[in-house]
């Protein structure tokens, strides 16, 4: 589902699950991922990580740069 962006009733043939079950499972999976790993994987850089980023960007010629920011529309 997440990898291929399929509709809910696409994988029901090879998963042997109904469309609503897949929808519910996907919902629970995303909620689980966000609840469990958001503090680990989407946080402000810690001091160590920040030093790493700064060192790399300084090596690229931009000291003091802590990343690139951009927006997109969904």
């Amino acid at each position: 589902m997440l990898g291929y962006g399929e509709p809910y009733d696409r994988p029901d043939e090879y998963c042997r699950l109904s469309r609503s079950t897949i929808a519910e499972a996907t919902r629970r999976l995303t909620v689980f991922i966000v609840n469990k790993w958001e503090p680990t994987y989407l946080h402000h850089p810690t001091e160590e990580e920040l030093k790493h980023i700064l060192t790399r960007n300084a090596a690229r010629g931009m000291p003091g740069c802590i990343g690139a920011i951009d927006c997109t529309h969904w």
Partner: protein, 259 residues
Amino acid sequence: MVIESVCDEDTYIWHFFIGAPGSYNDTNVLASSPLMLDVNAGVWPPRNISYTLNGRTRRLLFYTADRGYPRYALFATPHPIPDTRKRSVYNRLQEPVRKDAERLYAVMPSRFNIVLRPARFTSVFRMINTGKAAAILHNMAIECTREDFVAQQRMQEQRSAACNEAIGGQGAFGGDQAAFVVDDGPSGGGVWGFSVSIETDGQSNSNGHEAEHDMAVGSLRYTDGAECEAKDTDAHYALLHDLSEHIYANRCRLLLPYL
């Protein structure tokens, strides 16, 4: 719906904000972004790291951004009219650094095709959750494969070379080591001496010093000073000037053939 993200060279996502209405654009999504709220509160970026640009020591770290962003000291935007050689060299280096954020929006959909089909969800909450989940999984994937990236390998080589040099007794690898300086900790409350000196201009020196000392992290004056510093337009132009001088001095020979 607008996604705002900050990422580094590996397209590791350091900040991901999703959920603002689609009528927002780059500039006014900052009003609701948690990143900018932290900046307004003075929580982010950390002020205990200083680096030197063009002989001037700075404390405010910055993000590279494109033209759509306001003229804040927090953002290093490209020069609008690169009419001198220094400015075009600066733009030439700023573009590849900024490009990482653009690259993220191509890498993430190719990993997780679901982010190209947001209308598959029945509620906004689900949409936000799915976007975040995709970002988290993307970060996990990056973390697993990071060691194989060319940039990382190059850095490892550099580091080992630096170690060898240090063992050999040659301190030639001073450039990258001195790229920034981390203070031991916030020295009292006076990290924000600059903004206080503006606010308490009329007061005597001793009063100003006391005010500095009283200013704790999170106090109103600290927050105000932090917001003013991060959003200062003059400081933005000074940053651009210093950056272009620095880059011209260091990378001129490397970048001029590619202009």
